[in-house]
Amino acid sequence: MTLDLIVTELEALLGPTFVSAEPGDLLAYGRDAYPLALKAASSFAEATLARAIVWPESVEQVQDVVRYAAAHRVPIVPYGAGSGIVGAAVPVKSGNSIVVDMKRLAGIVEVDEISLTARVRAGTIGRLFEDELASFGLTCGHFPQSFNSSTIGGWIAHRGAGTFSTAYGKVDDLLRALEVVLPNGEVLRTRAVPQSAAGPDLNRLFLGSEGTLGLISEAVLDVFPAPVARAHAAFGFVSFAAALDAARILIHSGLRPGLIRAYDAEESAAHFGELGLSGGRAVLLVMVEGSQELVEFGLEASRRIVGGPHVEELGTGVGEHWLEHRFDTTALCRTLSREDGVADALEVANTWSRLPRMHSEMKRAMEAAHPRIDVYGHASHFYPSGANLYMIFHATESLDVAADYLRIVDAAMEAALETGGTITHHHGVGVAKSKWLPQEWGPAGFGLWQAIKRAVDPFDIMNPGRLGATTQ
């Protein structure tokens, strides 16, 4: 099929205003926040460009586009707000795909104030969702760093986590029901119920599916009464392992503060050095929100549990600094804007017993992979059995940033897997981590996934090249 014919036929489905093959639009959609795509996005020669961009406004229009793509075997790349950091929304080849931007499917459909759930369209930006919920006195409880530039559909497709996930849960926990346009154009609508034992959970099939099994068009999520109070405290520890241990004891006590963050000494110095903290300390930040009574109790209990003879209470400066900079990604962006610089935040997870070794092994491997690299890390999402780790790197003076980036990530992922952890806690797989998925799942697991993918999407039109699926 010619490009002109595809555009003409898509225009017949959606109207000419909502289909584009213009170079400016194609370049704009040639990236998400995957570091290598971000660095290539200022060049027509380096970016991978779609055939066309479409902006459907209804689930029926999404069905039309999917049926068209299936009939003509044209790949579809779903697009939320392009904040994904693993390259799941970037066309894998230039000129062979339709990018389906979901942002015109926006806004809350209904709020059940009795059950505390919200039915919301998938293209809704996180902050705008929260603004709408505020008029009901509610909060979504999900505040990723990409809160201003990510969509509900993207959260679900990548199994996202917000910074307050220790209390509210990951999006995995918040999701009650889904509406998904399947690769054959049918619409799947699951029931909004608190729990069910009606066979395997179909919602979970699409959590983390990254657009490979269908286009998420709507979701029902748990929401919460907006907190009326918030308080925080920070503590200094002699080592990152000691800070992690305190977080473990806190979680095992049954308390669920909204936010816990444990920083290694290097990241503590980078973020909080200006606050005059004594050097070489790992920092643990605890933040409690909710009713006034809950906050007072939670903070006091946290102090009792975390405190000890070798623990230094650091006051409120750390928490205030974090609140002020919670959506700030300048550090990564500054390095990425350098021609010789590359940076990323790799989020992995492991059990408590393996977490300290995972941190040290990943740090060692990443530092060995590049001569001019700073590596530091923190844990920020906590569970009874373990926590995530954010391993952040900034490499400069690179002669070949792409090769250097891939070598650093290779080293990090191999160390993560070797220590028994997962390659991703909440960013997803995309193109950045797909090569390690067979190792994460093992042959049987990966074979099962491929069988599911073939059954659901026999023509491999849904975001091909992601999650280890075949690339057209």
Partner: protein, 369 residues
């Protein structure tokens, strides 16, 4: 590199080139505060993507085209982007590099029809609306203390507000002189029509040279914004104090009443509330007029655009922006919606909703209408 064409009036060329680079490699955090991106659902409308495009055509000259150049004119720089910009506070500026990119597109003959039409209108009528006017020359006296300044926008879209301002000044026994100029020049400036902007702005400044001690007042907040930010950047000696009508009224107006309604939703002009940092004055004025304010989402210093100014290439997107802002104002269920600028009144009117201009409200309160 395109930004080599940046002129001194846009700021330091190197700083702007760095700003483009920073925006182009940003995580699009301004997405949630970019009205044109929200209204269109189009990622290409996000400032960082526009910046990437500016950087790209700078590197790959052969890709210049009319369709691509149109992207440079998508951005509505209402200031809301800075609410969430990760580089705020570092002198990071959107307008400077956008103006430079727009000017480059114009110089290459690739500007959108909406911009070339506007340029033609300026050439024919000396104003960006293309309204044929026969302005009478005004000889300002050196002892003039208050000059009421308006351009074509207020005279065309809210002539009642201009008259109301005169009524109010007269009722409060304040001497004034009216100065009607063709154009403030700010619209031309923002679109990259540099020569036209300078010509219009110079005309305004020259008209006022005779009365160096006068306070300048306008019902259009674009004037005080242009006087404070644009004219100085253009190198013009703009020394007078320039105020929006509400800023003058907040200090001069006694408590009045008698309006046939009690509550209002206020749409803050971005030029006034963000550009000049003034959101208190209109509220004081409403209070003095006995009107109870119902604050809408995105009010005061967090206000959002009510729609684009003339020359915007996508009127369909502009209308959606206006409707989105209207829905926020209507949601509070007030008796009236009050606007503080001619363009807001006109944008809302085009979206099918009549609103009351603040100056008219004040006049009605004073006269008991």
């Amino acid at each position: 590199m395109m930004l080599e064409s940046v002129r001194a009036t846009d700021g330091d060329a190197l700083a702007l080139a760095l700003a483009v680079r920073r925006c182009a490699t940003c995580h699009d955090q301004c997405m949630s505060a970019t009205v044109e991106a929200i209204a269109s659902g189009n990622q290409a409308f996000v400032v960082s993507r526009v910046a990437a495009l500016i950087a790209a055509v700078g590197r790959d000259e052969s890709h210049w085209s009319r369709e691509l150049a149109e992207h440079f004119f998508y951005t509505i720089d209402d200031g809301a982007q800075f609410d969430v910009c990760i580089y705020r506070g570092e002198g990071h500026r959107i307008s400077g590099y956008l103006r430079a990119a727009r000017r480059e597109a114009i110089d290459r003959g690739l500007a959108p029809a909406s911009v070339t039409n506007l340029a033609d209108a300026v050439a024919a009528t000396a104003n960006p609306l293309g309204v044929v006017e026969h302005l009478k020359p005004v000889q300002l006296e050196g002892d003039a203390r208050l000059v009421l300044v308006h351009d074509v926008a207020a005279r065309t879209y809210t002539p009642e507000a201009v008259e109301a301002a005169k009524n109010v000044l007269t009722a409060l026994e304040t001497e004034f002189v009216a100065l009607d100029v063709p154009s403030f020049g700010d619209i031309e400036d923002e679109l990259g029509l540099a020569e036209q902007a300078l010509r219009a702005a110079s005309g305004v400044v020259e008209s006022l040279e005779a009365c160096p001690n006068a306070i300048l007042v306008s019902v259009d907040p674009r004037f005080a914004y242009a006087w404070t930010h644009v004219y100085r950047r253009l190198g013009l000696a703009a020394e007078h104090t320039a105020l929006h009508f509400s800023q003058w009224a907040a200090t001069a107006l006694p408590e009045v009443g008698g309006l046939p309604f009690k509550t209002a939703a206020l749409h803050d002009s971005p030029q006034l509330a963000r550009g000049l940092g003034e959101s208190a004055a209109p509220r004081v004025v409403l209070q003095r007029c006995g009107v109870s304010l119902r604050e809408a989402l995105n009010s005061g210093a967090r206000t959002r655009s009510d729609g684009p100014l003339p020359g915007y290439p996508r009127p369909d997107i502009g209308l959606r922006i206006t409707r989105a802002r209207l829905s926020e104002l209507l949601a509070v269920g007030a008796d009236r919606i009050v606007a503080t600028s001619p363009f807001a009144v006109e944008n809302f009117r085009r979206a099918g909703t009549e609103v009351i201009e603040l100056t008219q409200l004040v006049r009605d309160a004073i006269l008991g209408i």
